[in-house]
Symmetry: C2
């Protein structure tokens, strides 16, 4: 097969704007390593951002990805909804490779995360303080915005926080 | 933390019907192991089924998940779209742990797969025969339907094919 040029470009203002929209979604797909087998596994998670913009979630210990992320914090998130019309592969999606960090119940950072999460996910007040629910922060390592065929952009942590 | 009963039930007729609807979607999220690092990675893929019901996709060799699936065929798919209303975690989604198998251009099974794929993805005729596009079959190993909080079902390969 002939060598082709790198199809991934650095982010520009438009790419950052699309990424910002995707980061405002309330849910994401999470790829993680299964705790028992180490093999790829996938779940839907609630999605939000910390006050400093760091991607985060609130999860129940009953979810299989909790054991997975505790055993192997490296994971990947995907944000974006194809919608009903057109080719789903032309709709933008943001993929973030990240490292998960659980926030302990007594972590001094928790009250600010809790207030911020509640402001954006008001229905979570029903379970946010249950003993088996935890906040998890996702520190981005590498991000790729795919905005349609042959339109891919690499985003830095600064691009994501913008 | 107190032990709770297994929250996952065997599939019933309603669970199979929900799974069938989700399997008719044209796209999925794919969790795979990155070829270089082995760490979890994620992509959106086109989704369809072979004539015998086996989940499948059509992918370009340029996609990063191609090298990943070639190095490590174990992967996981998620089907389901949250839609715009309500809590995204109450909308059903189907998670399938699977093993990927690439179909060679000269595989005798390819023509039937190609016809079937084209019938359901007519726009793919623009690229279906490009040299860098391949069909990949996903043999299901284990499937879980999450139909909302506390409504999870385990599906067998027979349930999926129904």
């Amino acid at each position: 097969m002939a060598t082709r040029p790198d199809p991934v470009a650095p982010a520009d203002a438009q790419a950052r704007a699309i990424a910002r929209d995707l980061l405002s979604l309330g849910h994401a797909a999470l790829a993680y390593a299964d705790a028992a087998t180490g093999l790829p596994a996938i779940s839907r998670i609630a999605f939000g951002r910390a006050p400093d913009g760091t991607p985060m979630t609130l999860i129940s210990a009953l979810a299989p990805h909790v054991a997975g992320l505790q055993a192997q914090p490296a994971c990947a998130l995907m944000l974006g909804e194809p919608g009903e019309k057109g080719d789903p592969l032309t709709h933008p999606r943001l993929m973030i490779r990240a490292t998960a960090r659980f926030i302990a119940p007594d972590d001094p950072a928790r009250p600010a995360l809790r207030d911020h999460w509640l402001a954006h996910h008001p229905k979570s007040k029903l379970y946010i303080d249950f003993a088996d629910f935890s906040f998890v922060l996702f520190t981005p390592q590498e991000s790729l915005l795919n905005a349609g065929f042959a339109r891919a952009y690499r985003l830095t942590a600064q691009d994501l926080a913008a």
